[in-house]
């Protein structure tokens, strides 16, 4: 152990613990406000779990004895399963609670539900809710850690992190890349979290969609907006396709799925405008022939959709360790984390 001045083995300094460089937030509610250092920390930590997840013996025990509750006020298969696996692989006890929207009609408020669960002393609540800001509200009323698994059209931080990890592993870096996000931006929490993360890490972000699905003044978040898909894809390194969130739409935003696919569906022809080695990403669930053509979705040279799912488990393991303060003390070399964004 070395002191800051480099004097080794001083009897006094030897007893001084190394500064804790772990990122241990109380909650993970969104990407907005995270620094490049913090994002990089989570990506590095997640990267470390990829190998474990690929090995036959997938268990670690850092969360042994801790309880994780998946509290989903909105339907989900992949995110809930991903968190469940992440928790179990770290040795936590995992409970899944799907609170169908009908139970809200029974009269229990979000806060009452939160207080009830809190009284059972969970260590982590993973929460998805159909309303923007609801997870943040809940986090103010509980004593355990809260991870946002998607709130309304606001944020879905673990999705952005898993997208970033996928990109970083394939491209080596995030800074300087051109990332085009296409589709229903207006209703998408995935888009917002990705915009925050990618801009923070130094990527250029473009949005493509019909004007009805681009929310007002989104340019103020540092993105460029295109309504012509080929123009928006020109020279892109990464193409992210979002699904039409019909369940959040009031009235007509696009005249028909057929028309939407004609202008904004990703097919080989439109993809040709992007760089030859551009990656195709989708947070799922995918609707073939609605926002993405089957041939593109299944193109093993371009599509990293299943890899995103794989990275999801690793990212959620890293997030669970971060909020429970159970990460190993020295996960990554200090020098690397000091860099703002990786070049």
């Amino acid at each position: 152990m070395r002191s800051a001045r480099g004097q080794a083995y001083s009897p006094v300094l030897m007893n001084t613990p190394a500064p804790d460089t772990r990122f241990a937030p109380r909650h993970i509610l969104g990407i907005e406000g995270l620094s490049p250092v913090e994002i990089t920390y989570l990506l590095d930590a997640a990267d470390g779990f990829v190998a474990l997840n690929r090995s036959r013996q997938k268990k670690s025990d850092s969360l042994r004895g801790l309880t994780l509750i998946n509290l989903f006020f909105e339907d989900s298969t992949r995110t809930r399963t991903s968190f469940e696996l992440a928790g179990k692989r770290l040795g936590a006890d995992v409970i899944n609670m799907s609170v169908a929207t009908s139970s809200v009609h029974k009269g229990e408020s979000l806060i009452d539900t939160a207080m009830t669960l809190n009284a059972m002393h969970p260590d982590v609540l993973v929460v998805r809710h159909p309303h923007s800001g609801a997870v943040q509200l809940l986090s103010q009323k509980v004593t355990c850690a809260v991870i946002n698994a998607g709130d309304g059209s606001h944020e879905h931080p673990t999705q952005a992190l898993l997208d970033a990890l996928t990109i970083r592993r394939r491209k080596g870096t995030i800074g300087g890349l051109v990332v085009t996000i296409c589709g229903d931006i207006a209703h998408s929490r995935v888009a917002r979290s990705n915009i925050h993360l990618l801009i923070t890490m130094g990527a250029r972000v473009r949005l493509v969609g019909p004007p009805t699905l681009i929310p007002p003044m989104i340019e103020r978040m540092g993105v460029e907006v295109f309504h012509d898909m080929k123009e928006g894809l020109e020279g892109a390194d990464i193409v992210m396709i979002l699904r039409l969130q019909l369940e959040r739409m009031r009235g007509t935003f696009v005249p028909s799925l057929k028309e939407n696919f004609h202008f904004y569906g990703l097919d080989a022809d439109k993809l040709a405008a992007a760089k030859p080695d551009a990656l195709v990403m989708h947070p799922g669930p995918i609707n073939r022939g609605v926002e993405i053509d089957t041939s593109v979705a299944d193109d093993i040279d371009r599509s990293v959709i299943t890899e995103q799912v794989e990275m999801g488990v690793a990212v959620r393991m890293a997030c669970l360790e971060a909020v429970t303060g159970t990460a190993a003390a020295t996960p990554a070399p200090k020098a690397r984390r000091k860099n703002k964004a990786r070049p």
């Binding site: 806060i111 923007s132 509200l137 103020r220």
Partner: protein
């Protein structure tokens, strides 16, 4: 009347712009009325048998007239009833409240009007003036018995927080309303554009992932109504204007000579959309808090006189209606007790003179609704507010008298507070310092 109690308010600064009064002087209350006032009154001392109140140089103004107050007198009384609202009112120098219909108290029958007036008389802290609904159940379709409501004593017609969306119904309301000389008051918002909206549409709504209500939803409803006003020669009042575009259109209509008036509320000149911050439901109002440029336009509209009146827009909500995800929380904020200091912000900030600022909450609303209130003249009701104009304090929700605590101004430092309130010649509130 013989034996009526006489009280002399001496060492006051009398302020009532509409009566041309602004300066040091004294005021004599006899019974329920102002008997005399002036700079030289009691120059030779107060006669024996007259009770004396030393105003210590503070401002003595007419009691405030708040033309937009929601109470929950017949339902949800745990949020606020007439008594608790009146107690909050007098703590803020307000001596007259005009009660707007709400979703659970629609005021669409003469019986409901009489009930509110009777309750108001029993409360005996402030005057209570109900509005009548324009349409039955405030549902926007069939007109109420406007004539019978007028005879029962309503001071205007409004569907409260609901916009009167149907153009033909609005036309007929304006037209029929000419029989009674009472204004039709509109909540200016095109409902189809505002449906599902949670806050002002813009950068912040986009960041928060909340559905926005565009500023245009306000002005387009007003523009439509002004066309109908031209058709009908009615009286039209726009409630709580919040946008630059709306103020411009109203200003132009006034210049054309149309009978249009409007009011705004303190949140719209004292706050902007950034108050929503991280989903603060106390900042969820209807209409929503707007952009800073709109807030500036509201201040300018008050300054140039386009906006006639400031009302509190008092809308009490209990904690359970606000401790919810933003989209599910009820809109509205309380305002009776904070109306005065927030109006005085306009004076302290240099936008309005003291007399002008107070006129927006006294003589102007009284004139608009045809009330015998809001003036310092001989023979007028002795409804008075004694105001320490410079006194600094901080708005804290827990210190407020209102049953509900949902003020969007919680934590705000302000200057100016009510020292005492006189209603019908009686001291109904005295601040303890």
């Amino acid at each position: 009347m013989n034996g009526a109690e006489r009280v002399a308010f001496v060492n006051a600064r009398l302020v009532d712009l509409a009566s041309g009064v602004d300066g040091p002087g004294a005021l004599l209350v006899e019974g329920r009325h102002i008997a005399d006032l002036g700079p030289r009154l009691f120059a030779d001392g107060v006669p024996e048998g007259v009770k004396t109140v030393d105003c210590r140089g503070d401002v003595l103004a007419p009691g405030l007239v708040d033309m937009r107050v929601t109470v929950h007198e017949t339902s949800e009384t745990h949020k606020e009833n007439l008594v608790s609202a009146a107690q909050a009112a007098v703590a803020g120098g307000v001596t007259a409240m005009a009660i707007i219909p709400g979703p659970n108290q629609v005021i669409d029958s003469p019986a409901q009007v009489e009930f509110l007036i009777t309750r108001g008389l029993k409360t005996a802290l402030t005057d209570v003036y109900p509005y009548g609904a324009v349409t039955r159940g405030t549902e926007g379709q069939a007109l109420t018995e406007m004539g019978l409501l007028a005879e029962a004593g309503v001071v205007g017609f409004t569907d409260g927080p609901r916009a009167l969306a149907d153009a033909d119904t609005m036309r007929r309301a304006l037209s029929y309303g000419t029989l009674f000389g009472l204004p039709i008051i509109q909540h200016p918002e095109e409902p189809s554009l505002a449906a599902g909206g949670q806050m002002n549409e813009g950068e912040i709504s986009t960041r928060l992932g909340l559905q926005g209500i565009p500023a245009a939803a306000e002005v387009m409803m007003i523009e439509r109504d002004l066309r109908l006003l031209e058709l009908t020669n009615g009286l039209y009042h726009v409630a709580h204007v919040t946008t630059a575009a709306a103020i411009e259109v109203i200003g132009a209509a006034k210049a054309r000579g149309l009978a249009v008036t409007c009011d705004t509320a303190p949140p719209y000149f004292g706050l902007n959309e950034t108050a929503v911050g991280e989903y603060r439901t106390f900042a969820k109002l209807s209409p929503p808090l707007r952009a800073e440029s709109d807030r500036e336009a509201v201040v300018e509209g008050l300054r140039d006189g386009t906006i006639d009146v400031i009302a509190s827009d008092h809308l009490p909500q209990d904690p359970d209606s606000k401790r919810l995800p933003f989209a599910q929380a009820e809109p509205g904020g309380i305002g009776l007790e904070t109306l005065l200091p927030l109006v005085l912000e306009l004076y302290h900030g240099g936008a309005l003179g003291l007399g002008e600022a107070l006129a927006k909450v006294t003589s102007a609303p009284a004139r608009l609704l045809g009330l015998d209130a809001g003036r310092l003249v001989k023979g007028a009701p002795a409804n008075l507010a004694l105001i320490e104009v410079e006194a600094p304090w901080k708005i804290k929700e827990d210190d407020l008298v209102s049953k509900s605590k949902n003020t969007p101004f919680d934590g705000r430092p302000v200057q100016g507070r009510c020292r005492a309130t006189v209603f019908a010649g009686r001291m109904v509130f005295e601040a303890v310092h």
